[in-house]
Symmetry: D2
């Protein structure tokens, strides 16, 4: 941490800041420029409240130097974190494909879709039983009945299940059915939930909020990791910008940025990040080309009858085409869609 | 709802859409232009899933005409919703002033601050006992001990208490201590929480998420209202934009926009919406000038020792100056800071 | 400027950076922390190219400490810059009201509107003769014929004229007719134009681009000031954000921020910053409450017949009401709409 | 165009709107719903000013149905527009690679870089002689001397030249030296400049403004096309968002969106869209995977000595690696870097 003094700060004001730094158990190192003094704080600034210096007279700005997260950072764990799911070692050179409907709607819908995506090459099945919906009047998911259908689909197809968790009290129920707990974008800063999934020690797919910075996403992952749960995947799913021709703006830059900052696997959700099925394949290819470790894609056997996200869901045959294209790009960048032993 | 067909849509495709509209129990009204056909849907489009039409062949776009919220709208309830708090009839021409520290940190901190803001003219006391923090390593609040201090401050100063709720399971505890439950920005789309505070029938202060559109804020209010809880205030607290000279961008436009859309009281939080104490008074004045029904302001007896939000907290004497300025502006726009019998 | 080295930077890498600093005629001051070294650069960093250090091995980040603008800053000129226009000393405690149509469309439209706004209390007349339009098929303004109408309106009403300049080659023509040259939002970073209006020594109204940061706005002002032209007003007119309920988002925070950063007068354009006439008065009041030195407002004698910006133009009678409200708020904050001798 | 009436609109108000539609030479088609009336306007709404209806009593909203651009649209010209440059038929399945320094700084800098990028596989050379810089105190380019160096580089390497134009009066000079005129992001809505390059009939590379929507970018292209100049390439170069971990946010979605909207070639500039050389290759690969027709990349023989954009410039050897990666991805999506006869 650096404390930048105002140009007109007095020696007395500087002394007060230095004293405050030392009272926090850290050391102050003065650098007197022509115009102003900069106070370097030596020690782990993460452990103290940095804004406390802002109200001291003569202080202009406080600049953090160290990153605010630790366990999530590549500085702390240089090697990629890996864990297995359905034969794919997530975090290794394999690419993880998760596919399925937005919501579980019925037995036939789920099973037809599950069979189709499995055949096309998906490794895991997504499907929501508890749905966060903008409107209280919209379909809110089948609840436990949906979980039972997911369990049946897993049994039949062999695919592990990824499903969303919306509240800490659902942990006991959901961990019975889900192989991976998805924390949705709207709950990325629901700290009660992050703590609960951290405690659960269950694999987690953490989606970036549509308005969270990369650093805040890293901090959300840190919440989970700080409970000892290391099986966390993070997922870019589009951010909110001024552009309205797509539902969100895919922050494709976040893929290489996250890969440089963290050892955790980085996935992309091209369905939400575009909002239109026409663009999903192009952005899926782009994500893999940029270095993503996997994709999560919405597929529905009859998108025009979907009860949510129909506009961005692929039909099974288009998903199959997408997989072929993604496979070609994956190979071009030295990755593979096949389970690696 | 309007369904815009593509320029090259066939009669057959149009018929399929019309049939689908009717299967949903609504009526279709065709408008055949030179270039394309527009299908007007007659009936309450809020009750059906509008995206279902997007995947039908020949459909270009679906345009909602009615607003997606109902109970929250001024069309539904034209008169301002009013309810009393500490002698101020919220929603009437009086201005509600809520002030206090970000977090409850200690007895002396809370009581000193409470006395000071009461003397300066505040009507209610804010203070967090459970704190949502970006970092898992930051101070997370005193919990129930903090609530007890708030209760003591209420007893001594007579001010009602506004405090944040972070999880549904805290409802029984918090409703014992809090006069108003605050739903924070990060939880604006935590639907489990919205449903719970709706059920509680307790007064609610709902803060806009930094990433939520005005319409999404209205939908979050609708969640609470749909449970029969009508004592809801909504609060603009700054949105996230590209500008970095302030912590957030105060969406001052949202004040008159919300006042035109809803009968609910509209507050402004100039502390979070600027992030710097230097700008708080200017934006507090602006909020009242633009038509806000109240303010919620962070005040700390020693901001430089605050454990959170020190940079945006006013010292008591500056808060007192702010109240004088706000009072003058309130009177200029025909409002008042005094309790109205 | 501070150069933050990577945690693993070697002594050799540090030496190369120090050498480079000194080759630029500046001094380096090392601050060796536990984790990393920070190099403070002593001297005027504005004169050198700071990114040159980013490619040197071992460098993590470069943090500028001084602001990149000089003449525009309050540190350089602490007192408000003032200059007279129609009896209002711009920059003093008076509030400047500029009003008129978006485009000059006809003699009767301009004169009727001019008379009406003058009577309501406006000090200067706005009106575009050369219009920047998003579509090449839209009305592009009357050109010189429009300027002649503006000159006539000035003669009849006594109001000075504010009109937009779109290209450097128009300077000789426009300076004959206009009392103030307006640089529009879309041209805020048209440097050829900024240099030309700087050279002209004519008063300038510089509008913030809808996606420019406050710092970039200050730099655009610096371009003009660096040519010796000190009669510059800057104007907030709304920024582009994700919110779509209004055309732009009024960055009301920018008003106190700019007032603290610069000695130049700061205006607000509530017509463009909202895009809907219903919200113009509320935001005009908010701007004055927040400390703005003036307003520029679109008024049209028949908005429903306007050839541009009809949706955000006030009718004359509504403008007159707005002036009454703004006058009350101005007085509440110790300002005045009356010319001050 | 659709005109949505308010729920409480009267028959008289509806008649006034219908009359106004007909006075504009168009036809009105009424659709009376349960709650409100929608008036469909039949005819080419692009030719009239749509906002004129907003001020009529009883009108709620006006919704444009047709796109506001014409010549730029794929509806107007379904086939890809193609034109040759250095043996690459731009717009065909070949991928165009433009590379070179941000600014022309010296003979040795330009020639060394030019040779290196040519050898690595670039088809055209970029280099700025007139530079738009945020600060008036920064290096502004070598001007005509820079153009002469570019001409020499062309003669020696055979590569066509792409260079930026900042003002209409530079057209005669620049068209002597440049094979392609680049309109930079800051000038995307400098209409005087768009008209001038349209008139020039010279090939144009039009960069998206960091604040422009896809539709505004299309309208800027329409300005140029409307002068009969059909040799226009458009270029995504990153938009401005809240995210600060990269200089801009690459709007990768814009690539497939633009390819569906327009017949013009679509390029990507991964240097500006990321702002950090570490991420340039990943985003270059992503752009090609998403369907871009080419790339424009900043390369400098000694980035740490660059006078502008050093942080985002690749060293020649890294550019060569990038080309190898891009070639593999191009082939995976059925494209090629080789000139096609």
């Amino acid at each position: 941490m650096l404390i930048i003094m105002q140009t007109e700060a007095t020696q007395g004001e500087i002394s007060v800041v230095v004293e405050r730094v030392e009272r926090n158990g850290l050391k102050a190192h003065l650098s007197q420029g022509e115009e102003r003094t900069v106070i370097g704080v030596v020690g782990d600034g993460r452990t103290i409240y940095q804004d406390q210096f802002l109200h001291l007279p003569g202080v202009d700005r406080v600049i953090p130097i160290s990153r605010p997260y630790k366990i999530a950072s590549r500085e702390f764990i240089p090697q990629n974190s890996m864990f297995p799911l359905d034969g794919v070692k997530i975090g290794d050179r394999g690419i993880l494909l998760i596919a399925g409907p937005c919501s579980v709607e019925s037995r036939s819908q789920l099973l037809e879709t599950a069979h189709a995506v499995r055949e096309a090459g998906a490794h895991a099945l997504r499907g929501g039983a508890f749905k966060p919906r903008t409107s209280p009047y919209s379909f809110q998911g089948l609840g436990e009945a949906g979980l039972e259908l997911l369990a049946e689909a897993r049994e039949i197809t062999g695919m592990p299940i990824v499903t969303e968790i919306m509240a800490p009290e659902h942990i006991p129920l959901l961990t019975q059915y889900a192989d991976v707990l998805q924390v949705g974008a709207r709950n990325m800063q629901n700290y009660a939930l992050l703590n609960a999934v951290g405690e659960s020690q269950h694999p987690v797919l953490l989606k970036r909020s549509m308005m969270a910075s990369v650093e805040e996403l890293m901090m959300a992952a840190e919440y989970i990791l700080s409970h000892g749960n290391r099986r966390v995947m993070i997922c870019e799913r589009g951010i909110r910008t001024f552009e309205t021709s797509t539902r969100n703006t895919t922050d494709i830059n976040a893929v290489p940025v996250l890969k440089s900052l963290t050892h955790l696997p980085v996935l992309l959700d091209p369905s939400h990040s575009t909002g239109h099925w026409e663009y999903v394949s192009a952005i899926a290819r782009a994500g893999i080309a940029a270095g993503a470790d996997g994709l999560i894609v919405e597929v529905h056997n009859h998108p025009s009858q979907a009860m949510s996200d129909g506009a961005q869901s692929l039909k099974p045959e288009r998903f199959a085409e997408m997989v072929i294209q993604v496979r070609a790009v994956a190979e071009a960048v030295g990755r593979s869609l096949d389970p690696i032993s």
